[in-house]
Amino acid sequence: MTETEFMEVVCEVRNINDPSFLDIPLEAAPFDSLDLLELRAALETRLDKLLTDERFNSASTLRDLYLLVNK
């Protein structure tokens, strides 16, 4: 998944389409815990695969999530 494709999904959840948000702490982005669950569900749906890595719960930036998606 490219950064652009990842940000398209992010934009669906929080209307953020600026790649600079990739490195901003998630609390400042701002995402609450339900937003992160929705983002994870949207990514799972888009990729048709389960994102089960435990580090998904402790990600501090969108880039962390992006890297986990592509792991």
Partner: protein
């Protein structure tokens, strides 16, 4: 399909008890969810996240649309319940539940996720997910259900107007701001997990709205508000829980007459820190005496 006969436990002073209806449909939702993820029940030992924490089912939002007002339901009527359940990702389960017979129909849309406790005995919760080993056999949704998007916009105060059954109103302007404090009852409002039960939220709103309506003379005073009106639509957006023994504040933000209906919007918040617990938006049909 499940059959129910309406007896006294399913009723209250207004007709069919919406509190009971929420509990009944909530249990149907969880029964189907447990079946879909292959666990024997919400209390089963498999209902844990990968870290071993006990998972609790939690509601994100519920929409109720009642083709017939709750007050029209009579004793000994037979109803059937049908459930359609889908999942969105591993986190969300969405159901549409119909409780109906030839004379009446009540449709509920329910959206849930899972939480675990941060600390034993307290109701600070965090989102978590069932074990990755569990395989979901319900039909997946390929897009978030609209009720999830609506919940998100309300949480982030990104919605300027709300539409309930065609009645549009501003969420920020002309706020009545009528407030009342309340301690939910440990005996009827909390569940066995020590959590303020999802079905209690609309009942608490109804109870406190009635008191505010009397106190501020918002409706006629010759008859009790409970018999003047009957619920025909209910939207509940859940944000957080409340520790046992703590008080909440209800703020009646809107009380709009819309033809033969009244639209009410109440915010429940933790009295201690003001953090929102739920938005509850209701349409009640006026019943002529």
């Amino acid at each position: 399909m499940t059959d129910t006969i309406i007896h006294l436990p399913q009723t209250d002073a207004t007709g069919l008890s919406e509190n009971w209806l929420f509990k009944h449909c909530g249990e149907m939702h969880w029964d189907h969810l447990c079946e879909a993820i292959g666990v024997s029940g919400v209390n089963s030992k498999e209902m844990r996240d990968d870290a071993g924490n006990r998972l609790y089912p939690t509601f994100v939002a519920i929409k109720g649309r009642y083709a017939t007002p709750l007050c029209t339901v009579q004793m000994d009527q037979h109803f059937e319940t049908t459930v359609k359940l889908n999942h969105f990702g591993r986190a969300f389960f969405h159901s549409t539940i119909a409780f109906k017979n030839n004379a009446a129909r009540f449709d509920l849309e329910m959206l849930t996720t899972f939480v675990a406790r941060n600390k034993q005995g307290l109701n600070e919760l965090h989102q978590s997910l069932p074990s990755r080993n569990l395989v979901y056999n319900s039909e997946p949704l390929n897009a978030p259900p609209p009720i999830l998007k609506l919940s998100r916009k309300l949480r982030h105060a990104e919605l300027l107007e709300y539409d309930l059954m065609g009645h549009r109103f501003s969420l920020g302007e002309h706020d009545l701001g009528l407030q009342i404090s309340f301690e939910p009852s440990p005996y009827i409002d909390y569940n066995g997990a020590g959590l303020l039960y999802f079905a209690a939220y609309p009942t608490i709103a109804d109870t406190l709205e009635r008191q505010l309506i009397v106190r501020h003379q918002l409706a006629e005073t010759t008859r009790d508000w409970t018999v003047q009106s009957s619920t025909i639509a209910r939207d509940v957006f859940y944000y957080r829980n409340l520790d046992l023994g703590k008080k909440l504040v209800a703020t009646l933000k809107r009380f709009d007459r819309a033809g033969e209906n009244v639209i009410l919007h109440t915010l429940l918040a933790d009295e201690l820190d003001g953090m929102p617990l739920a938005d509850i938006i209701t349409a009640k049909k006026l019943v002529h005496g």
